[in-house]
Amino acid sequence: MRKVALFIPCFVDQLLPQVGLDTARVLERLGFETWFPDEQTCCGQPAFNSGYWQLARPLAERFARVFACADAVVCPSGSCTTMVRHFYPELLAGTREFAQAKSLSARVYEFSEFLTDIAQVTDVGATFPHKVAIHDACHALRELGIREGPRQLLRGVQGLELVEMTHSEECCGFGGTFAAKFAMISATMGATKAENAESSGAEYLTSTDPSCLLHIDGILRRRHSPVRTIHLAGILARTDSAGSETRATK
């Protein structure tokens, strides 16, 4: 399996293109051939999580068809990976696409998980001379069981000092449509996360999930915090210390 299909979440495609490019860059550096099925849109999670399973179903079926011929699908988001791996089989139970979804669910990997479990690397040859804290994204942590992998990868980065922040496993408050529906609660949870990131002494906060980072970054910048956010792929893509001023959201 040297060829992997990129599953670039819709909001990453539109708002955080660098995360997608960094994901591809790391995979290619490790010798994988990447391709981007151009027909992909959204996995349907926003509808599914809002209770609109009827609307999510055609999107899931569509997604399963688009990625049908991929041997391995790699996604720089634990949340979107969870949707495909855990919720597609449930959502599509009893439909014609069920078998396809079931097989796809076994071939989709979150980015860090693909590196540590499938490619079996922990040193990807990256350099990032900064103090970094990690936010354990809920879906990656609790639905996919990803905790040590990203830390191993970060420890393999030259010059990087990994610091643990308090309550790294507590939700940042993004939660999809929750962030807009209950903006005040979401912002409060985000502020708690921001405070913990700040008191950790880290320069950067990283995570497997760009949606959490988009939210946390917005909170941090609104409070003029010195802490910046960067997706895990952004760190692993760096091979020298230059250009480290780029924000994750640029």
């Binding site: 819709c10 990453v12 495609d13 539109q14 708002l15 955080l16 293109p17 660098q18 997608g20 490019l21 591809a24 981007f36 151009d38 992909q40 849109t41 959204c42 349907g44 509808a47 999580n49 809002s50 209770g51 609109y52 399973w53 609307l55 055609p58 999107l59 569509r62 809920c138 609790r142 496993e169 507590e170 939700c171 408050g173 993004f174 939660g175 999809g176 449509t177 929750f178 962030a179 807009a180 529906k181 209950f182 903006a183 005040m184 609660i185 979401s186 912002a187 409060t188 949870m189 985000g190 708690t192 939210h215 970054d217 917005g218 909170i219 910048r221 609104r222 924000r247 959201t249 640029k250």
Partner: protein, 469 residues
């Protein structure tokens, strides 16, 4: 939107910015985190203990009919009374009639969420009966005329200073503000009540089927005084609290204590099986158990969510919940708050009235992770959302928005063009410094967060340019 939903949105929004409250709640919960962590480490295998408790509870709930009848029979054999209350009103009426016929003027109560659920105190007070909450936390919130803030820690939201001030105003005799002195003030008031009350009302943590006993857990010993000093003891218990065997408590008691407060076991664990028997020197003359349904059989009929009845009310999911940590218990506006409350309230009080609570969650799964009886709480929140959509309880604007969004996502070309247009509009708006203003199209996001820099090119555009598709 239901009235409860509007109220929740208002209260939660206000509480979310109440920094002082958040600090108090955080401190309380951080302490629990620490001691619960230590408590779990005392188990040889915490996960196995959870699994065992899950199995015991599942067995009980799946054979609820059999175990409840067994329980009832054994209580009756010992001369106790069992009343089956289908609704809150029936339960209240039973207690009120009993109090009236026995000429009860004073009631001492130990902590009971079911009594809160059926609004028993108000009903007793409206008949001129004085009700004393004897659990310290409940006593405090009762003095404040407030509902409990948390199902295990009713006064979690108050500082020692606030409690001292309250006691000074309501009770007097406060000489110092240290916890032992404050406890002494409460105890003086409560001791008198214990000896004058004609009726003691308790809840129960478990109903033990094979021995026909109720199991009551407390840290202050107040529950056993309520169950033994007054002439009449009434226990009000949800029907789901039954467990098959006495020996099941050997694991449920320590797991309940550990998950709730980190204690190896709660200080007082009392088993009550009936009224005073001939030859016994103490105990009540009458023992009544009110078994409350109040929507629980509706939940039992829901195969997907039936396991929510496994709950042993330890409060762990409240402590773990980042939403609870941010807004506290009162904002929920429900008897049962936190994740378990959001799951069961739609079954107890109707989906239309309480579906909004299932949306007030990031579905982070922390509740499911800590639940000592392994209830898949966050999955049930999601199922409540699905049910709300299927029953057409969602706002029209959301339905339309979701349909439009799905339509855009069903075709890659359409998605690409529409997303490009939105991005360009955002770039234009933010170029004109409209970010966060009333004209900002993403105001729901930018009201509390900085907008991300909107890129000129999407990933797919850059990919196509450099890789040729």
């Amino acid at each position: 939107m239901s009235a409860a939903s509007r109220q929740f949105f208002q209260d939660a929004t206000a509480k979310a910015v109440d920094v002082e409250l958040r600090e108090i709640v955080r401190r309380g919960i951080d302490h629990y985190d620490l001691v619960v962590g230590r408590g779990k480490a005392r188990f040889a295998d915490w996960e196995a203990a959870r699994q065992r408790c899950h199995e015991i509870r599942r067995e009980a709930i799946n054979h609820l009919d059999r175990y409840l009848l067994e329980f009832e029979q054994r209580v009756r054999d010992r001369g106790g009374h069992v009343f089956w209350a289908e609704t809150a009103e029936e339960a209240r009426k039973y207690v009120l009639d009993l109090a009236a016929s026995a000429g009860v003027r004073t009631v001492v109560k130990s902590k009971s969420m079911v009594a809160e659920e059926i609004h028993l105190n108000g009903a007793l007070e409206s008949r001129g009966i004085k009700v004393w909450e004897t659990d310290l936390g409940e006593f405090i919130v009762q003095l404040r005329r407030e509902p409990p803030f948390h199902i295990v820690t009713p006064a979690m939201h108050l500082t020692r200073e606030q409690i001292a001030k309250l006691f000074r105003e309501k009770l007097g005799g406060v000489e110092a503000e240290d916890p032992p002195s404050l406890v002494a003030v409460a105890r003086r008031a409560l001791r008198r009540a214990f000896f004058s009350a004609e009726m003691g009302i308790t809840g129960a943590n478990f109903l033990v089927a094979d021995s026909g006993m109720i199991a009551i857990t407390s840290n202050e010993g107040n529950a056993r005084l309520c169950a033994s000093l007054p002439r009449i003891h009434v226990a009000i218990v949800g029907i789901e609290k039954v467990v098959p065997r006495l020996e099941d408590l050997a694991i449920l008691w320590p797991v309940l204590a550990t998950a709730g407060t980190g204690q190896p076991i709660t200080c007082y664990n009392t088993l009550v099986g009936g009224p005073r028997a001939p030859g016994e020197v103490d105990g009540p003359e009458e023992f009544h158990v009110v078994l409350l349904d109040n929507g629980r059989t509706r939940l039992l009929a829901d195969v997907e969510q039936r396991e929510a009845l496994h709950c042993i009310r330890c409060g762990a999911c409240l402590n773990a919940c980042p939403v609870f940590r941010s807004i506290g218990g009162h904002a929920y506006g429900t008897v049962y708050s936190g994740p378990i409350g959001s799951v069961i309230m739609p079954h107890l009080g109707g989906l239309g009235a309480y579906q909004h609570l299932s949306y007030a969650s990031s579905l982070c799964g922390a509740c499911t992770e800590v639940c000592p009886v392994k209830i898949d709480l966050h999955r049930h929140l999601l199922q409540n959302r699905r049910n709300a959509v299927e029953e057409s309880l969602r706002p029209l604007s959301e339905k339309i928005g979701m349909r439009l969004w799905q339509w855009a996502m069903l075709d890659a070309g359409r998605f690409r063009r529409l997303a490009w247009a939105v991005r360009m509009a955002m770039r234009l708006a933010y170029g004109m410094r409209l970010e966060g203003t009333a004209l900002d199209p993403a105001r729901a996001w930018t009201k509390n967060r900085a907008a991300p820099p909107i890129p000129r090119h999407s990933f797919r555009a850059m990919w196509r340019k450099t890789r040729g598709g």
